[in-house]
Symmetry: C2
Subunit: 136 residues, 2 copies
Amino acid sequence: MIKTMQVGDQRSYQRIITKEDVIKFGEVTGDMNPAHYDEAYTRTTMFKKPIVHGMLVGSLFSKIFGMEYPGVGTIYCSQSLTFLKPIYPDTKLTVKVTIKSINEEKNRVIFTTEIFNHSGDLALTGEAMLMPRKDV
Amino acid sequence: MIKTMQVGDQRSYQRIITKEDVIKFGEVTGDMNPAHYDEAYTRTTMFKKPIVHGMLVGSLFSKIFGMEYPGVGTIYCSQSLTFLKPIYPDTKLTVKVTIKSINEEKNRVIFTTEIFNHSGDLALTGEAMLMPRKDV
């Protein structure tokens, strides 16, 4: 697999996270922090409205890695996430991954991982290290 | 808040992630990779059985940070995750956070974040940077 990959290769998709997704994520992770659910409380915060869990936004890269590129058989070694801007439910996000470096000998690929908000501003950035499947 | 925090402070809890949680997480994130769902496929992989999404496991710290310690009002600045061992559904995990350093002037706290599997082995490690609420 890794032999066909090149630095600069990109994949992206668009996604709207709904309020229902935020509820489901809270149920699965146990994080029912009022910052994500309580309209009255959030009016007192710097974000003014309920925001999406940062870790839910940061979990959107996994779909690309596991299903599309490198695809099935990929092993996720690490992911870093820096949360730059709040993400609000029901807004359109762009999820983008770009190959930063390739170590063919060790079968490791590092991707830059980015989320852009509905205005096109970078809202989350980080890096992922992956091991693509070896058999292709 | 930060004035009452000390390097070495810890919080932890135990959690079992069920197969139903894995399905829900796949629905929310869109990652329906067969590594998490397809028993027959996973018998051909190094993990032998379906595994929990790494990002779901990495999302378990957020409950502590947002709801318990530092608690409501905390802002999540960053999280790094290194996936060391597979996590299987229906096994008991220990989720643990420990303060590594405190920058009182900048109101930033760095936590070591760890997940231990049912055997007590470190399965996921990383660091989180947080801004505790300022008003307490």
